[in-house]
Symmetry: C2
Subunit: 463 residues, 2 copies
């Protein structure tokens, strides 16, 4: 790992942080960020930097970075583009660990001159710089948070195993907000903007070694170096699954990407081929990223034979359609399983896959059916549809599904569709780590991606 | 229109309702349904029918339908399958207007003998029978509600212009729940199960003449009569747009459909061809049905030139990708528009489509940009992306977007992605009739379907 990539540790886990462009004006970037650190109870020292003030939020304010006594691990810059090269020079003088440049006004508005200046300084001094033109970093473990959107509008997710590397700040922030909403835990968030110094490959490399990260999400418009990205993805995806979302696929999208972060989006076909070659899981849209991420924490299945359990026939039929269109197969139950399932069903029920427990089914029927299916060697994964609206289904179903998810013999995806009542129930399930979907298509696609990645994983193990 | 289809009016707008299988036991079907009518303050008379009781919920309980004095418009039957033919005979004797049979235990469990019996009685007497094996009917205008799922678990949607015809009760009930959740208004809900007497085509025919219905959703597993369905869809879709969801597409799905409502799902390709021939809009999944329905209330666009407005570059890029992949085109702004938009943007902004107002943009910038775009003859439809999480965006944006939606010169779709804060904001927009999406893909697909249907509509007008 390059020295400057290694040095990212100063940005993700700093003992001291300086914020250049610190401000007393509410909603200004340099104001929101100091609040972030204070509100989250950052355990290190915070140094506001702005010649206009002597004190901010009760903290001593300095004129420039090099004026601060002692070591500075991380510097966050939120001042106009023209001032940034000078400030970065000052950071080098102070021997800071790493820098985040939030300011826009570089490649994306054709000020490559400014970008080149900071790139040169960084290179000469092995200084890791994130950005410019980005939201920077969020690390729930250390409370580093340079996302300059107020916490009451944009929730911050809890600590967990998902790292998120994003070129776009807008996409990044909405994904953070959604992760918090779904109760998904984040290890590191990196919005890297123009990628002037460090690029997506460097962050992937860092995360491969990061002990808190289990799965990596990558949102990409245009890679700095396509060949490097392919090699890095190949290497990293063997250790930790990468879920990628590529934007700027067509001519119009590429033009939009160019004026967004100053990067050439490049041919989508080339990216698509690279994802395939590296066995990276590609998502189509932000919602699908979450559909996939949720299930990658489940046990890796041994095959593609799915058992479907439902209390609503129609949703079972829809689910079966997607199982077939995604190239998965409906498990053929063993004789033992058929015998056991027949005991659970009402007299007019039929043992089949999907297994329709019908609307009269209570929580006990689900519990027994799941138990039988977990024991059947002909079944590789379970999709459990629960229409929570039927009278016999009560909150004990959450215990049953959590137990199935914790069982770890086979992966499980659950589907429930409905309004307020169902949404609450789904959010409880999510918070217990049970993958829960509001659409058969989403559930089946997610389980297919898990199966495909697991197959790759098995092949690697055998080598 | 056939006599028995016409007679459906007795089921949808009855002055008197009898409930056979009425029960004092909580959560029993015959109990939940009486509660539905009472809770919703049904304005007509309710007659519980069950020889076991003399009174239920303070209402006089009768032994059989023909014992009730006076006229009965609608009879709802929730007793075991074996008893149903006899009860239907009694309904004929009493000259009731129409019947809903909720009970299962007919074709779907190979009791075609029972099904044939009620079909014969219905045919001989022009008696409309909905079901069996269904959830029946919900009409928010008249408060008829035979959905036997408790209201605290399954919300009932408000009155509006969307009719929903569904073979599956499970799919039907979740769609009702979702409609309530999204604030979408329903004209009539019909869950028709085995379609033993009246089939999907008959309901489409009825809804074509129904003054409360503007758009029709059709969930279908297997049609009774494919040729009749094609002809009916052709006729109805010219007057009111039909959005169809077909389940049972593959071999496994067809088998599942067979044991669900006893109908042969048939070749999906044939259905797909029929939808295309009738210019019916086909949805892929329940969520997509709503994505489409939401936008069909907007003004019909004159072409496919889309303007995109955003305060987050990345979401603009993603949206552009879908515009291109869906075969729509990015509008080329007029010179006048370019001049006006340049005034709104900050110095470092670029006039382009998507128009990136950047994260500093406030509500005023949106208002002006939308105004300029509404006046540009080179733009047919607007997609407005609002990242609600940025500090300058406040709740006045709801007024701006509602005004744009009410403007009626061009259709508008809005996109906002995020957690709790954004969800609340989206739900307010939805309640004002502004189509709002949490995914660029969903918004673009929806607008594409509206454009395609509008083009068909224009062709019809010209003929």
């Amino acid at each position: 790992m390059n020295k400057n990539i290694q040095n990212l540790k100063f940005v993700f886990a700093p003992r001291t942080v300086a914020i250049v462009g610190a401000s007393a004006t509410a909603n200004k970037i340099g104001n929101v960020i100091i609040r972030n650190f204070l509100d989250a109870r950052f355990q290190g020292d915070i140094f506001p930097i702005n010649p206009k003030y002597t004190e901010l939020f009760g903290l001593k304010c300095y004129q420039k970075v090099s004026d601060v006594p002692g070591t500075i691990d991380c510097v966050i810059i939120a001042t106009p583009a023209e001032t940034v090269p000078m400030i970065v020079e000052d950071c080098v003088k102070k021997k800071v660990g790493g820098v985040i440049v939030l300011s826009g006004g570089f490649e994306e508005v054709n000020r490559t001159d400014l970008a080149q200046k900071i790139a040169e300084i960084a290179k000469k001094n092995n200084l890791p710089i994130i950005g410019p033109n980005c939201l920077g970093v969020y690390n729930p473990y250390t409370k580093v948070d340079s996302i300059f959107l107020p916490r009451y509008k944009l929730e911050r997710p809890k600590a967990g195993g998902i790292a998120f590397v994003t070129q776009s700040g807008a996409v990044g922030s909405t994904v953070m907000d959604l992760a918090a909403f779904y109760g998904i835990g984040i290890s590191k968030f990196i919005s890297y903007g123009n990628a002037t110094v460090l690029d997506e490959s460097d962050y992937l490399e860092y995360l491969m070694h990061d002990k808190d990260t289990k799965t990596i999400i990558l949102y990409l418009e245009g890679a700095k170096d396509g060949r490097k990205l392919l090699q890095t993805m190949k290497k990293v995806n063997k250790i930790k699954p990468i879920i990628a979302l590529k934007a700027g696929k067509g001519v119009g999208g590429q033009a939009a990407a160019r004026s967004h972060t100053g990067n050439i989006a490049g041919s989508y076909l080339a990216y698509n081929a690279a994802f395939k070659q590296a066995k990276v899981t590609e998502a189509d849209g932000i919602i699908e990223v979450f559909d996939f991420v949720k299930i990658f924490d489940q046990t890796k299945p041994k095959g593609n034979r799915i058992a479907v359990l439902t209390n609503g026939g129609g949703i079972g039929v829809l689910t079966t359609d997607y199982i077939e269109s995604e190239g998965l197969s409906l498990a053929k139950f063993s004789d033992e399983t058929k015998k056991e399932l027949a005991k659970i069903l009402p007299s007019y029920g039929t043992v089949a896959n999907p297994l329709d427990l019908v609307a009269d089914a209570g929580v006990e029927a689900y519990e027994k059916a799941i138990d039988v299916m977990m024991n059947d060697p002909n079944i590789d994964a379970l999709i459990v549809i629960v229409l929570t609206q039927t009278p016999p289904i009560d909150e004990r179903i959450i215990h049953v599904l959590t137990k199935a998810s914790d069982d770890k013999r086979k992966p499980i995806a659950t589907i429930s569709i409905g309004g307020t009542y169902t949404e609450v129930y789904r959010k409880i399930l999510e918070s217990k780590g049970v993958p829960s979907y509001n659409s058969p298509r989403a559930a089946v696609k997610a389980i297919e991606r898990l199966i495909t990645y697991s197959r790759y994983w098995e092949q690697l193990k055998r080598k």
